[in-house]
């Protein structure tokens, strides 16, 4: 009995010594992983909600979905995690779109729209006044605590789009989905590109124009990742 207890004690002490040696030989703990950078892409409209109607029987819901898919691929290739609100022609409630964005805790939320009026790219931030963050914000004005960050995101997008030679209009508006998002959020509305004589130089159904917009927005979000990094 005594010899058994002695044996167990020897084993315990030996085990502790072994563990201590392993701990001394182990490599240093790895540094904390870089904070994840998530972008939410909300292709507006879908299903029965076709949105605007453009030339050549094109509808807004199809344009926004195509832009969302293209942008997701470009961002994914740059190592950016992307969350989309829809991947097919389905109707999604505006509140559900905001819920998806808010659950993603994203660093940038883009609501994609298109319009036949105006020229170039229209960037809209929420018209809500900036407020202090609160623990339980009101759903319809949840964006109020993020307005300053949203304006900064709009400024960053504006800068990259202007550098790419695009016409940009900055504005403030009240959109149901935008006003409920708790992330830096901007509504991006794509319009045909007009020349100085108001003639259309790039239509919405021009594949080259769509590709140029998508690549410029992707570059702008990469730049925003650098700016948003603490």
């Amino acid at each position: 009995m005594r010899s058994t207890s002695f044996g167990l004690a020897v084993l315990f002490v030996g085990g502790l010594a072994g563990l201590s040696a392993v701990a001394q030989q182990a490599p240093p703990a790895p540094t904390a992983p870089p904070p994840r950078f998530v972008v939410v892409l909300d292709a507006a409209h879908g299903g029965d909600d076709t949105g605007g109607h453009f030339a050549n029987n094109q509808v807004e819901k199809a344009f926004t979905l195509a832009l969302s898919v293209r942008l997701r691929s470009l961002l994914g290739a740059r190592g950016i995690q992307v969350v989309t609100t829809r991947e097919s022609d389905t109707a999604i409630d505006p509140n559900r779109r905001a819920e998806i964005a808010n659950h993603a805790a994203a660093q940038a939320c883009l609501i994609l729209h298109a319009s036949a009026s105006g020229s170039g790219v229209h960037l809209f931030s929420s018209s809500l006044a900036q407020t202090q963050p609160v623990r339980f914000p009101a759903w319809k004005t949840a964006q109020a605590a993020w307005v300053t960050r949203s304006l900064a995101l709009a400024g960053s997008l504006n800068s990259t789009l202007l550098q790419a030679g695009m016409t940009v209009t900055l504005g403030r508006t009240s959109l149901p989905t935008l006003d409920s998002m708790t992330c830096p959020a901007v509504a991006v509305e794509i319009a045909p590109e007009l020349g100085s004589d108001k003639s259309v130089t790039a239509a919405l159904d021009d594949p080259g124009y769509q590709a140029r917009i998508a690549s410029t927005l992707a570059a702008a979000l990469v730049a925003w990742r650098t700016e948003a990094r603490p």
Binding site: G118, G171, T173, S174, P176, A187, A191, K198
Partner: protein, 216 residues
Amino acid sequence: MIPRHQKLLFGILLVASLIMGVTLWHLRERAHQKLLAGQNSAPTSAPEVAPAEEATLLVASDSDGSMLTQLHSLPLPVDPGARARAVLGKLLDIYAAPDSTHPVPGGGASVLQVFLLPAPRIGAAKPAEAPSQQQTGPQLAVVNLAGSFAASHPAGIETETLTILSVCGTLHANLPRITQVRFLVDGQPRATLAGHADLTRTYLAADAVSTEGARP
């Protein structure tokens, strides 16, 4: 040979039929006049008898998303509600014109009514206002638009936002007591104007005025 009493009966029936026909035609004319008189009681344009005054309109431009002030001389009624409807009618007539910088079909007839109410205080419980304050205090304008106007409005964030802001700014420029604006379509609340801009919220007229000469 027709008996005499049958001839007499036939004559009476003929005269009665004629009298009834004339009476029905007369009643129909009276009903028609009454209907026309009812329509006239709600004019769709400013009365010509009102003196022409200068109205300030905030006119939107789609090309650069801006709003510019324009002065127009038009007959303006004395009643504030009718006055508000008259200036908005002029604004929407400009938008419906072929050379419009912000093309929106419908014209002035798209403004069905403008109701003016004492403005509720935003973010606070409504206190009881003195009658004198109700006559001089800030007002909420409820603009009732025609369903055909919303249905035919071009879809887009920029174009819808410009329409709303120019309506709010024009109301405030001509009736400074109007500080808040709400919208109805055919007398009912509506989620968006044409699928984008929120129509359920109360718009502050000052926000629209601050964007004058600049983008929204």
